[in-house]
Symmetry: C2
Subunit: 346 residues, 2 copies
């Protein structure tokens, strides 16, 4: 492998000079153009590539970001990843991916591993409620801490930044859409009360109902128990709704997966979507556009979530390089209603 010494020898100067020139360090101003171009040419000819291990050892930087996702196979994760990956690429960073698979022991392990690898920042995806991220972080020694962004959930600790979608606004969009289509008897498959997102979305719904005078029939409201199996739960709960016998023409599901379960349950009961019942989802995960019928849903701008996270990290890293303290940033992005074929006028 070609080292800086080889380049130095070949261009008849010292490694120091080569380093200064190739990195365009401040001292490069004092070096005549002629020497510079000679060195650059030699480096080019020899195919010199600096050894990043040596550079990292010296600079104590890895140009690497740790990305911890709770379930890589969840389409919600992948679109955010796309945004992260793209933005990192632009600033010369690379993501190290850790899929914790909903396991808190894996979370702990990965956290240690990534910190030991000296990632310069961390991005954590909103995770199952049973992993207490805040607590896990408290045991990390102050010295090792790096800028961290939480996507999709807010943190108690003021060391975390966060990027979330405006869930309340999103909930409102869903119900408002059905209301505008003339639906008045609307059923709800709520998210688990334990999730902040669920409570916020519900708040948006309740607020709109109050404002518009829409009456929400308690018999038409059911709640997901398990956060993980939302398709099956969506299916089961919708069956329950149907059995209760209170008719409805619209259904607001907690997320896309739940909506799929609901649509399937309606279909199985002989009801057509949207002819007999309109259904809305939440997220706009990649399958929503291809569903049968294509799903009307509230889109989370996932790529944007990823991009924003990287931006926050980049600034924090920059700040810490200049010995500055960066305070945490909390960003709330607007959702967007995507109307497809699963909703129709009454």
């Amino acid at each position: 492998m070609i080292t800086i010494r080889d380049v130095a020898r070949e261009s008849r100067c010292s490694p120091t000079t080569v380093s200064i020139v190739l990195n365009n360090a401040p001292l490069a101003n004092y070096i005549p153009q002629e020497t510079k171009s000679r060195i650059k040419q030699v480096a080019e000819e020899l195919g010199y590539q600096p050894n990043l291990f040596a550079r990292s050892l010296r600079s104590n930087r890895s140009h690497t970001i740790g990305v911890i996702v709770y379930d890589i196979s969840d389409p919600y994760s992948t679109q955010i990843l796309r945004g992260i990956e793209n933005s990192l690429y632009e600033i010369g960073y690379l993501p190290i991916l850790a899929d914790i698979q909903n396991s808190d022991s894996r979370f702990r392990n990965y956290l240690n591993i990534l910190l030991q690898r000296r990632v310069e920042g961390l991005i954590l995806f909103s995770n199952p409620f049973y992993i207490d991220v805040d607590k896990e972080f408290e045991r990390v020694p102050e010295k090792r801490k790096v800028p961290t962004v939480l996507i999709g959930r807010e943190s108690r600790l003021d060391t975390f930044s966060s990027v979330v979608v405006n869930n309340e606004e999103g909930g409102r969009m869903a119900i408002q859409h059905l209301y505008a289509l003339g639906h008045r008897k609307i059923a709800f498959v709520k998210g688990p009360e334990i999730f902040l997102d669920s409570r916020q979305r519900w708040k948006g719904i309740a607020t709109f109902a109050k404002e518009s005078g829409l009456v929400i029939d308690p018999e038409l409201v059911v709640e997901l128990k398990q956060p993980s199996a939302s398709y099956e739960e969506g299916y089961r709960l919708t069956q329950q709704l149907l059995e209760r016998g209170h008719s409805f023409t619209g259904l607001v599901a907690f997320d896309d997966m739940t909506a799929y379960g609901a649509i399937r349950a309606l279909k199985t009961a002989g009801l057509e979507v949207p002819r007999d019942c309109s259904v809305t989802g939440f997220d706009d995960t990649s399958g929503a556009a291809f569903y049968n019928p294509p799903l009307t849903t509230v889109r989370q701008p996932m790529e944007t979530l990823g991009t924003l996270s990287v931006g926050i990290l980049a600034e924090a890293i920059q700040a810490s390089l200049q010995q500055k303290v960066s305070s945490r940033v909390q960003r709330v992005v607007a959702p967007e209603l995507v109307v497809r074929d699963s909703t129709a006028p009454v």
Copy 2:
């Protein structure tokens, strides 16, 4: 940060000894148990963590694998990733993720970046035909080459290992399933002829037809053009099939996405799946089980594909550490028919 010197000072011996003890190097046999435990205890107390940059510089190893996917938002990728990630975790490696987004310039860039970061191996996902992986690799200097596995496609170069599913067998499974259900008038949405997978799947279909005496009506065979937009193409081609007026009771789609498009087109034309027409997919991507109706499909064991790739890399890395030359490995794994609700007897 605590260094090996700190541990040495605190335990009243030299850095050498500390290094030997903590790494359990061969020389550790000559060191009395008492010294060992003293050192270990001090290391523990001080919270010593070896600096991986220094270690990497010395050993020239990164314990890192580059994973190049052509489109992270494709569910096909994510399930394989899960398998990769899991296996790497077990052998103490970490994946660096590169999403090339179907762009060949990004591919080239990432290849360089990853090699410069000294990944110890590479996993490439089968990619759009317009990226000639073989060619890109030929320009990589011999010195920099690392063990490489191609998933989902075979390579001309004998430096690549590969892991693929048995496509011919899979094609056979799909048609055989419909045949067994009594279908005789079957339509086909083939994959692009340019893909090896497409040709292999078709071969499986053709062979079965010949063996069983099934007649394939050329008017009921259409072919995808664009590899990327298979939902839209599946939709459009199925409409074409319907317009031709040759009736059919079953449809074999190239992959799940195509099947979704086909189902949607049938539905739009007023046909129910599976009542009026059975449809099969290929891949068993994560949405297939939740589709409306849940899709009968030929599963690629994606996690296994990932796991096997890592296994191949691990062996190749091990071999090269012992100065051995490892030859390329080609593995073909069996697909599996997953019967759900999109197919039914005639």
